[in-house]
């Protein structure tokens, strides 16, 4: 089934001006999201996944802090990076909306949740406050919050964590956007609440045929939810594949490491959980060669000195590794050192 591209990110680079000079947090990233598709972006903290998502909405301070390069094409021909400030504001919350990791700190403590949901409606649809609150109640109902007529007048601190995330989702859905970016929406929540929120996101995706970018560090969450996955490491995409391929046939050593470090409830409990050795190097001094080389078992001089390109290795699968095929052949051998 050939689908229409909703969002296409082409060669996106996000540079930050820090006190210690320029840092490139997102380095030449390209991917796309189809209409009604859920795309997962996976990586450790500091890999640039959040920066990527916030770059799409241009949420960083462009005057002093950040410089973007590349293209972010929305609905085929609108380059978000070229929009004027007011055009961009119009897109935010209306066409593309976002939910964040920690719902408590992401909601304004001195405004009622009803107002915070209604605010986007008043801004984008120019309706009265009363009408906006009516719709806010509808939205709360949709996200499964009990007695929403009363809840609209509550403040964030009066709700539980799961409720707050539902409020965040209600807020992001208010204007029926075409794309929802969810930045680790379940990380701060209890496990039982997590699955409820995941169900809700899947339900919304189906019901409104809304594209979703789901950002997480947890491959386990991705497995049940996403159609396709992009794996990021230190500002770059290291592997892209559809969900089946990724788990059946991971090509990049980093992806393999991530998959092995998912705890299996049904597996042998004595089996030691895999840990990828080392830590993510700082963005301030990125290695010249492959960025994963320092932590990679297979790294040789080529990897240390020259950065591999992201290349196509199968249908819909891309990988950034010199030795992907060679490593794939050695599969099943206990190649990783656990530390």
């Amino acid at each position: 089934m050939s689908r229409e591209k909703l969002l296409e990110v082409k060669n996106l680079k996000t540079h930050f001006n820090t006190e210690n000079g320029r840092v490139t947090a997102v380095d030449d990233v390209s991917f796309h999201v189809d209409k009604g598709e859920i795309l997962g972006i996976v990586g450790e903290s500091g890999c640039g996944k959040s920066v990527t998502s916030q770059s799409i909405l241009r949420l960083f301070d462009e005057k002093y802090l950040v410089k973007y390069e590349g293209e972010v094409l929305f609905k085929g021909d609108i380059d978000l990076l070229k929009l004027s400030k007011s055009e961009m504001r119009h897109a935010r919350g209306n066409e593309i909306s976002m939910i964040f990791q920690d719902p408590l700190s992401s909601l304004n403590p001195v405004l009622t949740i009803g107002f915070q949901i209604a605010e986007a409606l008043m801004l984008h649809e120019k309706i009265t406050k009363e009408a906006a609150f009516e719709q806010a109640i509808e939205m709360l109902k949709l996200t499964g919050i009990p007695s929403p007529e009363k809840r609209v007048h509550d403040y964030p601190h009066q709700l539980s964590g799961g409720m707050r995330q539902r409020v965040m989702i209600a807020m992001s859905l208010a204007c029926k956007p075409r794309l929802l970016i969810a930045d680790e929406p379940t990380t701060a929540l209890d496990v039982t609440i997590q699955s409820q929120i995941l169900d809700l996101i899947e339900d919304i995706n189906k019901r409104f045929d809304m594209g979703v970018i789901f950002i997480t560090h947890d491959l386990g969450v991705v497995a049940g939810l996403c159609d396709r996955v992009v794996v990021m490491y230190l500002g770059q995409i290291v592997e892209e594949a559809d969900i089946l391929n990724l788990f059946e046939n991971p090509m990049h050593p980093y992806t393999k490491g991530l998959i092995k470090s998912i705890p299996h409830m049904d597996g042998d409990r004595k089996e030691e959980l895999h840990v990828i050795s080392g830590t993510v190097p700082s963005l301030e001094n990125v290695p010249v060669g492959c960025r994963f080389a320092e932590r990679c078992q297979f790294a040789d001089e080529l990897c240390q000195s020259k950065m591999p390109d992201l290349r196509v290795v199968g249908e819909g699968q891309k990988v950034r590794c010199w030795h992907a095929e060679k490593i794939a052949e050695q599969e099943e051998a206990p190649v990783y050192v656990t530390s």
């Binding site: 006190e19 210690n20 001094n285 010249v288 001089e301 080529l302 240390q304 000195s305």
Partner: protein
């Protein structure tokens, strides 16, 4: 084979070069961090200069700070008296140099004493719950009385003497220090490693002195520099009001006190000591801000 080796070597060289570049980059970062903390640099320079004035100034100035020369009354700055004379014909530069001794030593003594007693009280309050309530209520009470007023009342009761000014200002500033130390110490007290040390059977005073106290030093130093500045201001205000260092001893505030009456015909008696006060307070504020940023880079952004 040969070609491959050559290539190998080239790659290696490139690798080493990259590492060297990295090292140079890190050095540059350290240097930049030093340059960036202009607070410590400029504040430090100002304070060193003022200290030099206080320590060595009186040795080099050509006049006696107490000798009154009636014929030289209210002379404008000039060749004979570089910064002019006061209403008793005393050389202003000389009095300002001696005044630096008085003003800075009052400021320094107050800040050291307040830090010492404040730390003591803060540590006791943080560690002994029974004491905490009593000590902190007393601090609240003292802090509720505006500092200048408390100082004026205390000096009025004790009598205008330099030691009494120091004592009064110390009483005014101790509660601030105690609060800062207490809140820093409480954070440390709750740390797991203190729990572990206690479980090993360490004596209470050992825990306080060796493990908790050192961790309160950083905020204490910042506090000390601000109290130094505040003490200089308050001493100057008290002396200016005639309720501080008694005449004829010179302090910057005293010189201003004498100058107030003659503000219409002897501007130099107000401007020069005023500049010294502003300079020292500015230097100490810079220093305090700089140290705070150095300790906790969060606040600088």
């Amino acid at each position: 084979m040969h070609v491959a080796q050559e290539q190998d070597k080239l790659l290696k060289d490139e690798f080493i070069l990259a590492k060297k570049r990295l090292k140079r980059h890190q050095k540059k970062l350290l240097f930049r961090r030093l340059i960036r903390n202009r607070g410590i640099l400029f504040g430090g320079i100002i304070m060193v200069l003022l200290t030099l004035l206080a320590v060595f100034g009186p040795i080099f100035v050509p006049y006696d700070p107490y000798e009154m020369v009636v014929t030289d009354r209210l002379m404008a700055p000039g060749a004979q008296h570089f910064l002019g004379t006061d209403n008793f014909g005393r050389d202003l530069l000389t009095r300002m140099a001696y005044g630096a001794r008085v003003s800075l030593s009052v400021g320094l003594s107050v800040s050291l004493l307040a830090c010492f007693f404040g730390m003591l009280i803060g540590l006791l309050a943080s560690y002994f719950k029974a004491l905490d309530n009593v000590l902190m209520r007393i601090c609240d009470g003292l802090m509720a009385i505006p500092g200048v007023l408390l100082a004026i009342a205390l000096v009025a009761a004790l009598g205008p003497k330099m030691e009494n000014v120091i004592l009064a200002l110390t009483i005014v500033f101790v509660p601030n220090v105690a609060r800062v130390v207490r809140s820093a110490a409480i954070v440390i007290r709750e740390e797991t490693y203190i729990e572990a040390i206690r479980a090993q059977g360490a004596k209470t005073w050992r825990i306080i002195v060796l493990h908790i106290a050192p961790n309160t030093v950083a905020p204490l130093i910042v506090q000390a520099s601000f109290i130094f500045a505040d003490a200089i201001i308050t001493e100057a205000a008290l002396s200016f009001l005639g309720a501080g260092i008694p005449a004829p001893d010179p302090s910057w505030g005293n010189i201003l006190h004498d100058g107030k009456v003659f503000i219409f015909n002897a501007w130099w008696m107000t401007v020069f000591p005023g500049i010294l006060i502003v300079l020292s307070v500015f230097g100490l504020n810079l220093l305090g801000d700089g140290i705070r940023d150095y300790i906790d880079p969060h606040t600088s952004k």
